[in-house]
Point group: C2
Chain length 248, copies 2
DNA sequence: GAGCATTTGTCCGTATGTATT
DNA sequence: CAATACATACGGACAAATGCT
């Protein structure tokens, strides 16, 4: 159908991918070139097309692998649980604390928390994995007076929410968030193992105690678009009782 | 600094771009190749890197042009006005009605509107331009009983909201929306003038009358990520009076 | 650790196709 | 029709990362 050979090749490969489970290694560029009777450059273009479609992830020296892409839904009514979302999709979640340090609160985050800029805070840098592959990188900020003992507690428990619940007896809830796509700073690019610079999801968020309304912590999370699709559901105010929720 | 020559080249070009107004034509691949002493293939890779960073838009046979990228903020408190957003950013907005036809309401949209699948509706297909370049493509669905005379009114007025306000005396407000990135159907790809298949923004939305809460219309809008950045702001329920809004 | 094969990443030169001006 | 500019394609070479022996 298609007179462009690399797209033709990509179509065939894309169709074959749909039956392969995530993580499967696909044919190498040279094998594809041989099979379709094209040059390695054309075969490479085809695989790069699959990469642009977020269907595969490529690793130099290793190979090209089918991606597992997960829907991460953000809505007011849903508690944010990344581990559960990944497990529900059939993936194996893991998160690693990369660093915990104290740092004065930057201005933008301070005003989000309703604090003064420069107040002491914990900065918690964490990496999230799906099936052993990097998915996200997050910076979480918690004012020191909110949780002085964070340093020792954090390595034992998977989420800061959990620590807050147990040690402070609060119920953290997502009070505000902003989602977009950004080209992140080089530190984050390295953390996400991205080669060329490209946009990734950025979720900025603020947690408050659902009982008192006190601002507890805030975070910025960058996520690779080839491992998750972030969907934001927003319900408006003009809703009357008795009406059904907006359907799918 | 960078031993990868195409990235080195891309860095230099990217720095130069920041001082060029949107729409400026940049040097051709051959000129870049000559200037930096690299092959045309390497020059091409550099420009493609700029394209991946959403800094430029390429048009075969014409050239490579600096993109105007606009922030489109979706939040509960903001009336959705695309024309105003574009003008505020210094761009020239235009929208064109591509097609108006009657079609039975598809199931997913019917349930979003609280209607039965298959009810008669107007389907309004529209293209949005910024500075003469395609930015978005939308499908808007309005039940026929809501606005029987749509066919004649639509070409004179820029927005369906406007028509509803004038002819039905309702106040449309964004009642629900969902945002993500998708690889759209081929019709939309063509409408957005995308060559290779890649993900674009998809905003699904539902409008209700702010007075009665009646569902008025719903729409799906696809937007090129190189012309707009869609930002969703969500405020939660755990908000007490007297507290300041979440800062920037 | 060293060595090797595999695989992706970069780069060159050249040629031809296709859309725009 | 001609010139320009981007798009596709080929063949060849070497670099860099990975995985295994």
């Amino acid at each position: 159908m298609n007179r462009v050979r690399y797209l033709e090749t990509a179509e065939v490969l894309a169709a074959e991918l749909t039956t392969s489970p995530p993580g499967t290694k696909i044919a190498s560029e040279n094998e594809i070139a041989g099979r379709f009777g094209v040059s390695r450059a054309a075969a490479r273009s085809a695989v790069q097309e699959l990469e642009r479609r977020l269907l595969v992830r490529r690793v130099q020296g290793s190979g090209t692998f089918v991606s597992r892409r997960i829907d991460y839904v953000i809505s007011r009514d849903r508690a944010p649980s990344w581990h559960q979302t990944v497990r529900d999709a059939g993936g194996v979640p893991r998160s690693v604390v990369r660093e915990v340090r104290r740092e004065p609160l930057p201005g933008a985050l301070a005003s989000r928390l309703g604090r003064a800029a420069g107040e002491p805070a914990h900065l918690l840098i964490r990496q999230y994995y799906i099936d052993g592959l990097v998915a996200s990188w997050s910076n979480e900020w918690i004012p020191v007076d909110m949780l002085p003992e964070l340093d020792v507690a954090v390595r034992a428990v998977e989420s800061v929410d959990e620590i807050l619940r147990q040690l402070r007896n609060v119920r953290p809830g997502r009070a505000w968030c902003r989602v977009g796509m950004e080209i992140p700073a080089s530190e984050v690019i390295a953390g996400l193992e991205i080669e060329g610079t490209r946009p990734v999801w950025l979720v900025e968020s603020l947690s408050r105690d659902e009982q008192t309304g006190a601002a507890l912590m805030c975070s910025n999370t960058w996520s690779r678009p080839d491992v998750c699709r972030i969907v934001v559901e927003m319900s408006g105010r003009a809703r009357r009782t008795g009406e059904s929720d907006a359907g799918q």
